[in-house]
Symmetry: C2
Subunit: 363 residues, 2 copies
DNA sequence: TTGTAAGCGTTATCAC
DNA sequence: GTGATAACGCTTACAA
């Protein structure tokens, strides 16, 4: 490790060039320079050009702190994600940032590690920074959060869910409806013996909760409600997908379809199935959620729900930019998901599994 | 899509509570309130408590723009990553953010999409925002970048590489040495027929370039230099890992070891090998780089290089915090990587290959 | 059309 | 130990 210590360059040593310097060089008043920058159309073209030249010459840039102080606007948005480790959030953040950048906004990022207490602290810190808008994930938050946001009078939007909760507008998909649809699809394939693997740890993850609800309701309505032991609770790691499948099949060897609330869990489940010598989808259908890049590349490719993360990010940016400028904004934005049927699902094959199926589907 | 438009709440409508309000309520001068906040130890305890109570009562928070204007410090760091889609960057960013948050700093995030021109623009925007420090990735940048940074007199550090380039200190691993070690390891296993799959698209990716260099140099020194057709250039997608392996084996059917500069490429290569009926590691050894979560979960688990992304992020934070405060900082920080030997590598089995290959093709 | 000048909210430097 | 006061760099009435 190269540790030769040198003294760091201390902050701005050369005093920053300011508007007054430009004004002096251009022989105009600071106000004119400011106008050239902010309302070029009201400055005489000839003068404007001269000023602009000097601005470029001195490579002058405005001090954003001073601007913010004067205008009350930071041109800054904050986002708090549970974690960046999940590609789905990373993708949304990236899209958000790109769109904001186009509009001259900059993005503060913070992460809560799925800890609502910490989310509140980060929000506090963001608000103190004077952000003009805030992006959250999901609808499950600490009590104080709403008061904090209201007091700061900062526009807010929550993402990856579709229903406004507690007055906070949302942009995202209907998670419950998505897993309902997935469940129905599997039912139509002929499956009767289901299992669910859900990343409902921690409990604050309301997206996964909704996904699990969708599965449970669809099956209840179909008259084959899930028993508690048919629901394996996990976090979002691949390893837990593995152990969850093992546990599920241990308790319910007749399972023919496993619905996971996350691709990562599904991929773990697939890996375990392979290890157990179970053919997918021959002996066991497995489904995921999110449609991460890897899903399509699995062997077999994973049937899953595609979540429009980039659109969510862009939409959140647009929402906030409009809200800040006082433009009309929707109460919430429901984005479509897509059920992507690939090769990890198929009709169950009666007879081939330990347990008899009265299934009528042909192969 | 729920589109009922409502009028957005416009910016701060209630005037923000300021230091003067607290001062009036507490019957002290604004200066005292400021001191309570910034140097509590020099204020009479009794007075201090009273002021603090009123601060809490009004839930007063300091205006960061005004503070920044006065102090010249924004307590803000910026980072520009090529993309957030790569887990390795997301992990580093998260660690960076966590450490900064502990120290009262907030992180601006921007992404360049591997476009150096865009990196420069984002940097410009960050500097205008008055950031106190900047984190970059890699050592390959636009010409103007250095001048910009120097002029702004902002401490900077580049990450995921270990050598300071052009006066910009670095924190990360020695990528070239890592692949060298990987290559040597495979050589010791007995491999002679190598192939490399490198994500050297786009060319600005100097980390991958260094990784490829490591492979090439190690093999040159061993007297078995790689032919151009033994090097497949790719981007960083799994799909390209697949096609790269196919092309490689097409041109060089006798290949027994494939070194990839990225886990994702390696996983793609493994998937393709399986599809071609090639046993890994029996017929073909495959290695990755990064040690993403999935690597250990593959079947077989992937031999790879573990990159300490979280340490890089934390280290970058510490570096900048020290640099900003004028504390001594190292010229660069070389972090150790780890060669993680798992089951995707084994000694070559001469003679067994050609036959299998044919069988695989015919299927 | 351009210049003058008054703040924006905070903190540091002075007096007291 | 505490209070008045003067910046920090910019924008915008208002005046010219």
């Amino acid at each position: 490790m190269d540790k030769k210590p040198t003294t760091a360059p201390k902050g701005r040593q050369q005093p920053r060039v300011k508007i007054e310097d430009v004004a002096r060089k251009a022989n105009v008043s600071p106000a004119t320079v400011s106008r050239v920058l902010n309302h070029p159309e009201i400055v005489r073209p000839e003068l404007r050009d001269r000023v602009m030249r000097h601005i470029a010459d001195l490579s002058y840039t405005r001090d954003s702190a001073a601007r913010a102080l004067k205008s009350g606007r930071m041109r800054t948005i904050g986002i708090i994600v549970p974690t960046l480790a999940l590609g789905i959030f990373a993708e949304g953040v990236e899209a958000l940032q790109n769109r904001l950048s186009e509009s001259g906004y900059t993005l503060f990022i913070a992460n809560s590690q799925y800890d609502q207490r910490r989310e509140l602290q980060e929000l506090q810190s963001l608000i103190e920074r004077g952000i003009d808008g805030i992006v959250l994930v999901g609808g499950s938050h600490e009590r104080e959060l709403r008061a904090l946001i209201e007091q700061a009078a900062v526009p807010v939007i929550t993402t990856y869910v579709s229903k406004a909760v507690g007055g906070i507008p949302a942009i995202g998909i209907d998670n419950e409806s998505a897993t309902r649809e997935m469940t129905d699809y599997l039912r139509r394939l002929g499956h009767v013996h289901f299992g669910a693997i859900a990343n409902v740890v921690p409990a604050s993850n309301d997206r996964s909760r909704a996904r699990l609800d969708g599965i449970q309701r669809a099956l209840s309505e179909a008259g084959i409600p899930l028993k508690p032991t048919q629901i394996i609770k996990a976090d979002y790691s691949l390893a837990q997908g593995r152990s969850a499948l093992r546990q599920l099949l241990n308790d319910h060897p007749d399972t023919t379809a496993v619905i996971c609330t996350t691709d990562t869990l599904a991929i773990g489940a697939m890996a375990e199935a392979r290890k157990m010598g179970l053919a997918v989808p021959g002996s066991l259908s497995i489904t995921g959620f999110d449609d991460i890049e890897l899903a399509a590349q699995m062997d077999p490719p994973l049937t899953t729900i595609s979540v429009p993360a980039a659109e969510i990010g862009r939409g959140a940016a647009d929402y906030l930019i409009n809200a800040i400028s006082g433009s009309p904004v929707p109460k919430s934005v429901l984005l479509p998901y897509r059920l992507v049927m690939r090769a990890s699902t198929a009709p169950p094959r009666p007879g081939e599994r330990p347990v008899r199926r009265q299934q009528a589907r042909d192969q």
